[in-house]
């Protein structure tokens, strides 16, 4: 589908030490198929590296994935890094094995949304379409 405006660019990243990249790759493909421009950074990105990539790529969204249990440290660290670089317009969402209580706490810390295992890919796409209606690709 031709798009009227520039498509939304999303930097998708694995933060932390774990290498479980099944979820992040499936989500990256689904977002690409939905018309988004997706840049996958690969594994073991520090919060600084993720924000660097987002700024360089002129991304509007950062998608984070983690499965090691370090989300309460690393997700807020990405948000803080964005604040430090004066780039809080970039929307951060995440996914992984994240308990409900932590989701509430992460949202308070500035993470826009968390998707847990079992989430239909369409839910993630729908959420992005609501966040960026004017740039929707179809």
């Amino acid at each position: 589908m031709p798009t009227a405006t520039k498509p939304v660019r999303i930097v998708v990243a694995k933060v932390g030490l774990d290498g479980h990249d099944r979820g992040v790759k499936v989500v990256a493909r689904a977002l690409r198929d939905a018309g988004y421009e997706v840049i996958y950074t690969g594994l073991r990105q520090t919060p600084e590296m993720v924000v660097d990539a987002a700024l360089q790529e002129d991304a509007q969204v950062i998608g984070l994935s983690i499965h090691s249990g370090a989300h309460m440290t690393l997700f807020p660290a990405v948000v803080d890094e964005l604040k430090k670089r004066d780039a809080t317009d970039i929307v951060v969402f995440g996914g992984g094995i994240i308990p409900d209580d932590d989701i509430t706490a992460l949202k308070k810390r500035g993470v826009a949304e968390i998707f847990t295992p079992g989430t239909p890919l369409q839910d993630i796409v729908d959420w992005l379409r609501r966040r960026f209606p004017e740039k929707s690709s179809s």
Binding site: R22, G69, A70, P99, P120
Partner: protein
């Protein structure tokens, strides 16, 4: 008057043709996409010689007595927080009838980093136990008689270091290395392929693996030096066939590397062990286990020319499928795990880990860990399934599916050969792409409801009940970081730095590195320091990310 009896198969085919089949859009192929007929008959198994357990090619099991001789080992993988807390959990599990230990390490330990490294932030003690030096290993194994139990250690890039720590603790207990039994995962190839916990490039990584195999063949002869793992390949999204094929291909790559070192096949082959996933597609999993034994036996005897029978026998551990569990209606995971565990048992596993129902949310609580262990005990002692050896042997369906798994695996071996072997296939992203494609295909099947996960895309409930989960205290990280700093401050500095220096020199040469690592461990050099010494010589590896 004489009526000619009609062939019952023809009658059945006719009747099937005129009956209406279920039309709910749900796939009837296996979860890996192997098409299934509604019925299998003896026509599916033409010209088959009878097979017996304990006999080549071991389709029906490696022991003539099956579980009549000895049940499988119930080996629950566990580890969290500090060495002291995990030691308490081990004693709890042993007191509850568990028959072997299985250590889960945290991410910094798995990645060869100390707890006070900047990139360990937020990760210490979260998905396993933090081990930084021999001091932590001493605490972890305190009061556990290493000469009497067997221990499995799930670690790969730094595997040699952790094995040396275990040997050093045993020395202090007065147990000689020759008496130690256990398993080291030590399977770096599947890290490059699937789980991605690699550090060094492939060549020096393989050298370390071969060093440990060679060393153990002489010094720790009862140790399973490697656990060649399909589990992570499967959990990363592969099909059952890919899991089978890629794992056995890895196994052959290790054999090739050991032969290249100059070792004799029968000196190490019997200490190679395997680790498979026990997934939810019941019969496909059973067929996978049976096919694995048969393929390995043929390759070891016919291609590698192993003379001893024990070199032909594929022994394996299995674990129920983490990816099959759901955070939604988590009690259902008990039922899933029971079915998967039954598949592993009917497939003839040597040891088994059953997942706890809450593992999709966090590390298991004591209660969930106990239910998981009890599930195995229920299978072993209550259901009677262990009373008959290979009870599905001769099943038209299971035998035909076993043959099909073997055929498809052999087709993959050919493709891998054409690429030039396992390492070139890793470097070109072949495995990674095959797995990512399969994972995406499966996700699409779920989205289109062509496959059902109960509680995910059907049979959902609106108000999910919350279950109790285990929390890791955030103070633990700073305490563990302080502990490793204290170890560094209190040890004999000259001894530690000399040992590290000698290790660095040896790494630049061709010596077997195990004795050097053991010396460094004994001198309380930390895991991070030992890895750093090796990184200085070997460098690190970064993969090209393929989506």
């Amino acid at each position: 008057m004489k009526v000619r009896a009609r062939d019952p198969k023809e009658v059945w085919e006719q009747e099937l043709g005129s009956s209406s089949l279920r039309d709910d859009g749900i796939e009837t192929s296996t979860i890996s996409g192997i098409p299934l007929k509604p019925l299998y008959t003896k026509d599916d198994l033409p010209g088959r010689a009878p097979e017996f357990p304990g006999q080549f090619p071991y389709t029906r099991g490696i022991h003539p007595s099956g579980y009549r001789g000895r049940l499988w080992t119930m080996r629950q993988f566990s580890g969290y927080a500090t060495a002291a807390e995990t030691n308490r959990r081990y004693k709890y599990l042993l007191a509850n009838g568990q028959t072997g230990l299985s250590v889960a390490f945290d991410m910094p330990t798995l990645m060869g980093q100390d707890s006070d490294a900047p990139t360990s932030r937020g990760e210490v003690g979260h998905c396993g136990v933090a081990i930084d030096s021999l001091a932590d290993m001493e605490t972890l194994l305190e009061g556990i008689p290493l000469g009497e139990i067997t221990t499995s250690m799930t670690i790969n890039s730094p595997a040699a270091i952790l094995l040396c720590m275990y040997i050093a603790v045993a020395e202090k207990q007065g147990v000689p290395a020759s008496k130690l039994g256990g398993t080291l995962q030590n399977d770096i190839l599947k890290e490059f392929i699937a789980q991605k916990e690699f550090i060094f490039p492939p060549a020096p990584s393989m050298r370390l693996v071969v060093d440990s195999i060679e060393y153990c063949a002489k010094e720790v002869p009862k140790w399973n030096t490697i656990s060649i793992s399909g589990y992570h390949i499967r959990e990363a999204g592969s099909t059952a066939v890919q899991e089978l094929a890629f794992t056995l291909a890895d196994g052959m790559a290790y054999v090739d590397a050991c032969l290249e070192r100059g070792m004799h096949i029968d000196d190490f082959a019997s200490r190679l062990s395997f680790f498979f996933d026990a997934h939810i597609d019941f019969f496909e999993e059973i067929a996978k286990f049976r096919a694995a034994r048969r393929i390995w036996a043929r390759w070891m005897r016919d291609r590698y020319g192993a003379q001893q029978e024990r070199s032909w026998k594929l022994r394996f551990h299995s674990q129920t499928a983490g990816v099959s569990l759901t955070a939604q209606q988590p009690e259902l995971n008990i039922a899933r795990t029971a079915v998967e565990a039954l598949a592993a048992v009917l497939g003839g596993t040597q040891s088994l880990h059953t997942n706890a129902m809450d593992e999709v949310l966090a590390l298991p609580t004591d209660r969930a860990a106990r239910i998981a262990l009890r599930t195995q005990q229920l299978l072993a002692y209550e259901t009677g399934v262990a009373n008959t050896i290979d009870p599905l042997g001769g099943s038209y369906f299971v035998e035909a599916l076993t043959d099909e798994m073997e055929r498809q695996a052999e087709a993959y071996f050919k493709r891998i050969d054409e690429i030039g072997g396992v390492i070139p296939a890793i470097e070109s992203g072949f495995f990674q792409k095959e797995i990512a494609d399969a994972a995406f295909r499966y996700q699409q099947e779920l989205e289109q409801k062509r496959r059902i996960m109960v509680g995910i895309n059907d049979f959902t409930v609106d108000d999910e009940e919350e279950i109790e989960i285990l929390r890791i205290d955030s103070r633990l990280e700073s305490e563990q970081a302080a502990r490793v700093r204290e170890v560094r401050a209190r040890r004999d500095q000259a001894k530690a730095s000399n040992a590290l220096h000698r290790l660095r020199k040896a790494a630049a040469g061709t010596d077997n590195l195990m004795p050097y690592i053991l010396d460094a461990v004994r001198a309380y050099a930390t895991e991070g320091e030992i890895m750093q010494a090796l990184i200085e010589v070997f460098g690190t590896y970064t993969e090209t990310a393929v989506v």
